[in-house]
């Protein structure tokens, strides 16, 4: 028992000194489990996120936009793979993690349970959703767990163009024909509040954040990140000439921040519970792809085994 306490103290001291924890280091079981869960669900989010955006690849309005979207969706698959790899450094197995996703025991970000019904939705996702994601991801490049931090450096580097392409696409729409402007405003109307919900419930409703912060996994609170997002993004909406769908939104000179309206937490929990517009559809599509591909994976394994046997026999 004493040994364990001493190890924990040493572990915490390293975290407090901003040292990196690596795969073969001793770590509390709670730390390992939190990280596996977080990296796995982050990975799941990347691959589920391919669906709402990928919807518009075949229908992109220009070849340039098609190319940008193809590159983006490909990046997302890659990010999922980096993150599964990082989770595997802690003893998890990718197939097991995917199984947990497919059976609904592990989740993915709620934001991807909303439909992308117009082209402007793709632009809005790049601008708002990726903008919000960057707020979460940049601090993770300093996460205490080495492989996760390094994966995040790679992810952030590749993702830096995602937000810009979204904002650029929105700019073109907002300055385009009346129909395009309407499309842009409609997308903002539908994606604004779900983007704010991406930061999770208010801090006073998130009691377990403290442990993650002590372990150097979480760097900023939900409310801090959400405020930062609002403060960055509202001026961008103003630049676009679009209206943020929040009648209570106003600039507060004294605090130097925007004050914004109440989030509809009922909607949040409804979607989180599985009753959002696309929950069933997203998971079914993911499971279908996996099941349809089983014969391919089996063939690859059979071939590999046979080749290895031939080599050994030679």
């Amino acid at each position: 028992m004493l040994d364990e306490t001493a190890l924990e103290q040493e572990f915490q001291a390293r975290i407090d000194a901003d040292d990196r924890i690596e795969p073969r280091d001793w770590m509390p079981e709670g730390y390992r489990k939190t990280l596996v869960r977080q990296m796995a669900q982050h990975a799941h989010s990347e691959i589920i996120g391919m669906q709402p955006e990928g919807n518009w690849i075949t229908r992109a309005p220009s070849l340039r936009r098609k190319a940008i979207l193809l590159a983006k969706v490909q990046d997302e698959a890659g990010h999922g793979l980096y993150l599964y790899s990082a989770a595997e450094t802690l003893g998890a197995d990718r197939d097991e993690l995917l199984d947990l996703l497919h059976t609904g025991r592990q989740k993915y970000s709620t934001i991807f349970n909303y439909p992308t019904v117009t082209w402007a939705d793709v632009a809005a996702i790049g601008w708002l959703v990726d903008g919000a994601a960057i707020m979460n991801q940049v601090p993770l490049t300093r996460c205490s767990y080495g492989p996760y931090a390094r994966a995040m450096i790679r992810v952030c580097k590749e993702e830096s163009f995602h937000q810009r392409q979204g904002f650029e696409a929105m700019t073109v729409l907002a300055n385009g024909t009346p129909a395009q402007r309407r499309m842009a405003q409609d997308a903002l109307d539908r994606w604004w509040w779900p983007s704010l919900m991406m930061f999770g419930p208010n801090d006073d409703a998130s009691p377990n954040s403290a442990q993650s912060m002590r372990w150097g996994i979480k760097r900023f609170s939900n409310d801090e990140l959400r405020q930062r997002f609002v403060d960055s993004t509202v001026p961008q909406a103003e630049f676009l000439g679009l209206t943020v769908p929040d009648p209570d939104l106003r600039w507060d000179e004294e605090s130097g921040h925007y004050v914004f309206g109440e989030i509809d937490w009922d909607e949040f929990f409804t979607v989180m519970r599985g009753d959002g517009p696309c929950n069933r559809q997203r998971l079914q599509r993911r499971v279908q792809a996996h099941e349809d591909g089983a014969w391919v994976r089996e063939a690859a394994a059979a071939y590999a085994a046979r080749s290895a046997a031939r080599r050994d026999a030679a």
């Binding site: 070849l63 591909g293 089983a294």
Partner: protein, 255 residues
């Protein structure tokens, strides 16, 4: 791109090559979030992106040589089915992963010697496009071949599926090696690659891959053709409707 030289034959040739790449890219993009494993989503989207890049270069060059001021998007989004000049093989529906990989092998085994020959095209712009395309298509061929071998020499089920896919798309390969007036003139000028020179190399690559994959080379008397003259299968109409609809709904808009 060198401007101002109107050359109808070169424009036609670039449209044929560009439409091949564009339509095939569109088909591969359908695999997004549907592939058998994540690594294949990455790989197939990579191939789709390469092909789209080739298509954009070729359509831009076609518009340039045509001299009517048509942009890559004008050509991709505003032409009708009967104006598309791709070979029919690229417009066929994907089917399962086996059929998709079989089609990839057959097309890439043709594209590689084609682009290699075009690096010496007397049209400098086309030769430039070829220089980049060769490296990309080497990868496409290796990827497709790897899968056809693994599926052919994998399990009974994978063997059956890829053989079926191969049988389905094989008849459409004859169109790749046809010739006509446009092509003959361009071959004489040193602009285009001679299909008669490409076919044996294609055949050697394919025979070698299928043998290693334990697959049977299909035999058929059926020779569907017409793509190069704008005569297509029913599949193209649906593909174009999806690809063009948004662009056509907002005439003159910028994106």
């Amino acid at each position: 791109m060198v401007g101002g030289i109107v050359d109808a034959d070169v424009a036609t040739y670039c449209l044929r090559l560009g439409d091949d790449a564009l339509v095939l890219s569109q088909r591969l993009a359908e695999w997004s979030a549907r592939s058998p494993q994540l690594e294949e989503d990455v790989a197939l989207m990579n191939v789709a992106l390469d092909l789209l890049g080739q298509a954009r270069n070729l359509l831009t060059l076609a518009g340039d040589r045509e001299g009517q001021g048509r942009s890559e998007d004008d050509l991709a989004m505003l032409r009708e089915e009967t104006d598309f000049l791709n070979a029919q093989i690229v417009e066929l529906e994907n089917g399962d992963f086996g059929r998709t990989m079989a089609r990839q092998l057959l097309v890439a085994a043709y594209s590689l010697p084609l682009w290699q020959a075009l690096t010496s095209s007397t049209d400098a712009d086309l030769a430039g496009i070829a220089g980049k395309a060769v490296k990309e298509v080497e990868y496409h061929l290796d990827h497709a071949r790897s899968w056809v071998v693994r599926l052919g020499d994998g399990t009974e089920e994978s063997h059956r599926r890829v053989q079926q896919g191969l049988d389905d798309v094989w008849p459409y390969t004859c169109e790749l090696f046809e010739t006509d007036g446009v092509l003959q003139r361009l071959v004489e000028r040193g602009v285009a690659a001679d299909p008669a020179a490409i076919e044996p190399r294609w055949r050697a690559t394919v025979d070698d891959a299928l043998a290693e994959a334990t697959l049977t080379v299909p035999e058929t008397s059926w020779r569907p053709t017409g793509g190069r003259r704008g005569r297509h299968t029913e599949a193209l109409g649906y593909l174009l409707a999806e690809m063009q609809h948004l662009h056509r709904s907002h005439p003159g808009a910028r994106w």
